[in-house]
Amino acid sequence: MRDRGQQWNLVLILARDLVSRLTTAAFVVDADGTLIYFNEAAEPLLGRTYAEAGELRAGEWATEWNPTDEDGRPIPLAELPLGIAFGERREAHRSFRIARPDGAERAIAVTAIPLFARADELVGALAVFWEDRRPGGG
């Protein structure tokens, strides 16, 4: 959450500074799981700019791109890498499929890590993801 309603925790600011300069797609979420930033590299995969998407609560972004497993079953938030990172406070990785707003499907691989300001203070999580071009990817 924002410090005194005015400013994000520095760890999130630094994460955003880094992510904004990556050429690999990346998300940043806060401790509640609200999506607070994704970078330009993520836009082709997600089919939207962050300016268009804006902040999305966990339940929203988890369904916004309709993540599904290899059998086409929806993946619940708690089983997505970012959901695991901020929900269980541990690193996670998974390949799965998403659907962009224009209907195009993409196979992606996601690695998510929790972000701590101190040992017991989770302030959010960061995920990097890329199109999984392996045969059968996602």
């Binding site: 005015q6 400013q7 880094l18 300069r21 203070e121």
Partner: protein, 281 residues
């Protein structure tokens, strides 16, 4: 509250005739609260004369708020008289780290081969606190701390009393990776601490030319600190953490540049100097 500056220099104590007007002692500010409580911001070499000044009226309790553990913010503690007085209740607050408690990070500085006395043998038996994520009470004031951009764990502080606020960010590089002109304020390091502060004491170590070859060192240029103060809508700005290579004349050149950047309100910015007293009421 009343704040007295005992050290405004950064990085290295720099005494001498060429720094006599603004002083050569490293960072230390005494904040005297309305209820008589004493809060000390950082323990640079300026804390030594503060301790001597307190000899006549030794406070029963000292709360020392350390921004980070670089030597210019802790080196004076070894010669702070109340620290060696077993009757003083001594609390040291400092930045959290995901890896080690504050006491364990400070202890090597108080141990051979750097110092003959171990921290465990200091008479006042200081109590260590990693700053909490939420504001906390200190005497008649409320203190807040946030992590800010500076290499390693580092925080800035905000002291509020009777509706007035002092913000202290002595080592801070908010422009690193952030465009201070265009970034939304919630993405600017230190904004929450500095917002609408009556007095903002902020890092102003470099000229812009010096900053351009020291990016990432954790400090600000004149242009950056003025812009940060504008974005934060700080009412008064004290340029602090003077570079040890800057003479008094050089500092006054920096002040002139800062005032040029605030043509509508040039007196809003001043140079911090030893002996300066700020009544924030």
């Amino acid at each position: 509250m009343r704040a007295v500056i005992w050290g405004a220099r950064g990085s290295l104590a720099s005494p001498g005739p060429e720094t006599a007007r603004y002083g050569g002692q490293t960072a230390c500010i005494a904040v005297h609260l309305a209820d008589g409580s004493l809060v000390v911001l950082d323990a640079g070499t300026g804390i030594r004369p503060l301790g001597m000044a307190l000899d006549q009226e030794r406070p029963p309790r000292v709360d020392l708020l350390i921004t980070h553990l670089h030597s210019d913010h802790i080196e004076g503690l070894k010669f702070f008289e109340p620290f060696w007085d077993a009757s003083v209740e001594f609390h040291i607050w400092g930045p959290p780290s995901p890896l080690k408690p504050l006491r364990d990070r400070l202890a090597p500085f108080f141990a051979p081969p750097f110092f003959p006395v171990h921290l465990r043998d200091v008479p006042c038996r200081p109590e260590f606190h990693e700053v909490p994520p939420q504001p906390w009470r200190l005497g008649s004031a409320t203190a807040s701390a946030d992590l800010i951009k500076h290499p390693g764990p580092a925080v800035g502080y905000r002291i509020e009393e009777d509706g007035r606020a002092l913000a202290y960010l002595p080592d801070h590089e908010p422009a690193l990776g952030t465009d201070l002109d265009t970034a939304a304020t919630q993405w600017i390091s230190g904004f929450g601490l500095a917002h609408s502060a009556d007095v903002l004491i902020h890092d102003a170590q470099y000229t812009q030319a010096e900053y351009d070859i020291r990016i990432g060192w954790g400090h600000s240029s004149t242009e950056q600190v003025v812009r940060f103060a504008e974005r934060a809508e700080a009412k008064r700005l004290l340029l602090f953490h003077h570079d040890p290579l800057h003479t008094d004349d050089h500092l006054e050149g920096i002040l002139a540049r800062a005032r040029d950047l605030l043509p509508d309100d040039p007196d809003r910015v001043v140079l911090a100097g030893e002996g300066m007293t700020l009544d924030i009421q």
